[in-house]
């Protein structure tokens, strides 16, 4: 055990002594942040203590053992996984102090206003315009597929500030107040029946220049920080063997012998092997991150996870046969009002899992785009032939 570890564990004990872990949840979380035990590798005053990132798990384990509340990371995944690292990398001191604390405690939920009807994989094609007006910007445009926009207090948003230069050059990145005038959020119903995501219409929304992240025209570089972290956030995860959807299938297999056939058995074991390989890949990725040597392996993990989730959930329906014909709830009356706060693969029916898994190869960059990235950035193969690199954004076919 190292000194840094001893020191952190002592601080955890001090936090627990001063604040009842079974008491007010938000009060405890704020105290945890102020004690530097939120993300220990961040600087003091910003939820951390400049400690090695590896030691966070020590802190979390001690807090969990004491029954301390969590910040419900799944509910605030976009804030934790994407907004925070971007603010940390590109934000001013003042911006970091304003946003990181309530982001981490979950006082304020974040969403990601990147995709538009005309710009998904090709994010750099986006057309939401931001025009300067004194010390403000006036923003007009439409965003789409925005998860949690209906709960979010803040959004990270990429806009076009210069349509006359090639598309990668004319973008600027902001933090947007979702309560500002001119922000309209409409639920968008999805394949599973309910609405996790939304359409967001921005009409003459005023954003103070103090909410800009990075320089004017540097939006693409800032967005890269967000997207790199998105892939890590979606791919990673340390879970025990037989976690997630494979656990559901294994349970069905063990408890319902009447469903077993030799062909299904070999398929089950093929998927079990793939699931375990993907789990070990995630563990190895975590060990790399902990050792301070992150690699591109996160892309492999996300690619494998998406395919596997789809294959396992599809197999589960086949295995169930007649029961696979039934669905739990299309929410036809309530999809606008009763909105899920996080994706719960295991809390619902196999049909839901099968359908929701289809999103895994689309959200956070499609599997095709991921393959392009791996081929070009990891393997060094030539880029796609591009017709859009030197043309001013306004002249591109849309």
């Amino acid at each position: 055990m190292t000194n840094a570890e001893d020191d952190l564990r002592e601080r955890v004990q001090k936090l627990l002594a001063g604040h009842d872990p079974q008491g007010d949840r938000m009060e405890f979380l704020r105290a945890q942040f102020d004690a530097g035990l939120a993300w220990v590798h961040f600087p003091a005053g910003l939820g951390g203590l400049d400690a090695p990132r590896t030691l966070q798990s020590v802190v979390d384990a001690d807090l969990a053992a004491a029954g301390a509340p969590t910040n419900d990371p799944r509910r605030i995944g976009i804030g934790l996984g994407m907004a925070a690292p971007t603010i940390r990398t590109h934000g001013t001191e003042e911006q970091q102090h304003r946003w990181l604390r309530p982001l981490w405690t979950g006082d304020e939920v974040w969403c990601q206003l990147f995709s538009e009807p005309g710009a998904g994989s090709d994010l750099a094609a986006l057309g939401t315009r931001a025009v300067p007006d004194g010390d403000h910007w006036i923003v007009n445009g439409q965003k789409v597929w925005t998860s949690q926009a209906h709960e979010a207090r803040w959004a990270i948003v990429v806009t076009r500030t210069d349509p006359d230069v090639p598309k990668h050059k004319g973008m600027t990145y902001f933090v947007l107040d979702m309560k500002a005038d001119g922000v309209e959020v409409r639920p968008l119903r999805q394949i599973t029946g309910e609405a996790e995501f939304n359409e967001v219409f921005l009409t003459d929304v005023r954003i103070p220049d103090s909410q800009r992240l990075g320089a004017v025209g540097d939006g693409w570089a800032v967005a890269q920080t967000t997207l790199m972290n998105e892939r890590v956030a979606i791919g990673g995860g340390a879970a025990p063997r037989e976690s997630g959807v494979i656990a559901e299938v294994a349970k069905t297999w063990r408890t319902r012998p009447e469903l077993r056939t030799p062909a299904a058995h070999d398929e089950l074991m093929r998927l079990w092997v793939e699931a375990e390989a993907t789990r070990l890949t995630g563990l190895r990725l975590r060990q790399q991150l902990a050792a301070g040597a992150p690699g591109p392996e996160g892309s492999a993990a996300k690619l494998a996870f998406a395919r596997l989730n789809q294959e396992i959930t599809s197999f589960e329906l086949d295995l169930l046969g007649a029961d696979g014909l039934r669905y739990d709830d299309w929410s036809s009356d309530t999809w606008r009002t009763e909105r899920p706060t996080s994706v719960d693969f295991l809390g619902r029916s196999p049909g839901y899992r099968y359908l929701r898994a289809k999103g895994n190869s689309i959200e956070g960059g499609t599997s095709e785009i991921l393959r392009n990235i791996i081929a070009e950035r990891v393997l060094g193969l030539p880029g796609e032939i591009r017709v859009d690199k030197t043309v001013p954004w306004k002249d591109l076919p849309k």
């Binding site: 058995h265 074991m269 563990l283 492999a300 393959r371 393997l379 060094g380």
Partner: protein
């Protein structure tokens, strides 16, 4: 949790092994040797096993080894998978050493660890971990009689470790090469030749019997499966590398063929598979190094996964090289032959899936 990364020492070991193999066994030399009577290069073996100490890595110092572990041994296996140089590594350093250590055959293990002597474990290469103790060789009147087909690395072995059935059950014996007759098999895999071994009233020394013999046999197979996964990983990595190189240098329709998305995506998928194979193979090596109770699961998982990745990598290597990949001259076929033979060695992927099903309680019926 098992460490799935490579340590600095392991990377140093890898670099020395790779330097040696690149200098002494380039692809052209490996191919040329497959058509001579001297497939195994004794000088290369000496440099690898004795000078670099590869043969003694998994043997403790008190037993005459270098006191490293199967984890480091796996690094050598990865490099041999990249190179395909024919050596007695799998038969002697992995199978015979694992069996000998488990059986407490300290004298033999010490000689194997020095690299001066090589041994083979007299079992068919396709033997699956968890399958019953072999019964094709019988012990009676102090001698062994029987035949074992498809034995790896027996061709030049000085000694054989032979599992046989004695009157009172399973037992392991050591037999000198002079006491057996060996018939060379025309093997699918040109760089790991197999041999049929026949024993006719061969004089044999007992090294373990009963439960100890069974344990030594099981340990050897699980260790073999884990080390083979490392070899498959190295092979897959090398095939991916060669193929990417070719995609960058070959032009068709006025473009590098690596600029075609259909091919880029195949390479990306292969890279993802290799990335996962690395985690799986490292886990298996770690488990056998630590004698972890999960070793049997880890080894079967590794075979069920890495076999498929290695075959896929070699198949992609052939296909994406086009006509050149179909020639004798290009090494792609050597990789394909090794990958396919490795996929059968110690059981096929589907046999390992069946074994895993038993180990993790997902019964077939």
């Amino acid at each position: 949790m098992t460490d799935l990364l490579y340590s600095q020492d392991e990377e140093l070991l890898r670099a020395s092994v790779r330097d040696l193999l690149t200098a002494r066994a380039p692809a052209s030399a490996v191919l040329a040797r497959t058509e001579t009577d001297e497939l195994y290069d004794p000088a290369l073996w000496h440099a690898l096993a004795a000078d670099l100490g590869a043969a003694g890595l998994a043997v403790p110092e008190w037993a005459g080894g270098h006191g490293a572990s199967w984890r480091e041994t796996a690094i050598v296996a990865e490099e041999l998978g990249r190179s395909l140089a024919a050596t007695a590594f799998l038969g002697s350093t992995v199978l015979a050493t694992a069996a000998g250590r488990s059986a407490g055959a300290d004298d033999l293990v010490e000689r194997l660890a020095s690299g001066e002597v090589t041994a083979a474990l007299a079992i068919p290469l396709s033997t699956v971990p968890g399958s019953g103790f072999p019964d094709t060789v019988r012990h009676s009147h102090e001698t062994l009689t029987g035949t074992v087909r498809n034995v790896a690395d027996a061709r030049t072995a000085d000694v054989l470790i032979v599992p046989a059935l004695a009157d009172d059950g399973p037992a392991l014996y050591v037999v000198g090469a002079g006491a057996i007759s060996r018939t060379a098999v025309v093997s699918l895999d040109l760089t790991r030749p197999l041999t049929d071994v026949t024993l006719e009233s061969a004089r044999a020394d007992l090294i373990a019997s009963g439960a100890e013999a069974v344990a030594a046999f099981d340990t050897a197979l699980i260790t073999g499966a884990a080390m083979l996964a490392a070899e498959q990983l190295g092979l897959a990595e090398r095939c991916l590398e060669i193929t990417v190189e070719h995609l960058l240098t070959r032009y068709q329709f006025g473009r590098q063929i690596g600029s075609y998305q259909a091919l880029k995506h195949r390479m990306a998928d292969l890279w993802a598979g290799v990335t996962q194979a690395r985690a799986v193979a490292r886990y298996a090596a770690g488990c056998v190094a630590d004698a972890d109770p999960d070793a049997a699961v880890a080894a079967s998982l590794a075979q069920a996964y890495c076999s498929l990745v290695a075959v896929k990598a070699a198949e992609e290597c052939v296909q994406l090289h086009g006509g050149i990949g179909f020639t004798w001259e290009h090494p792609a076929h050597l990789y394909l032959k090794r990958a396919k033979a490795d996929a059968i060695a110690f059981g096929t992927a589907s046999q390992h899936r069946a074994r895993l099903a038993e180990l993790v309680d997902l019964p077939a019926a």
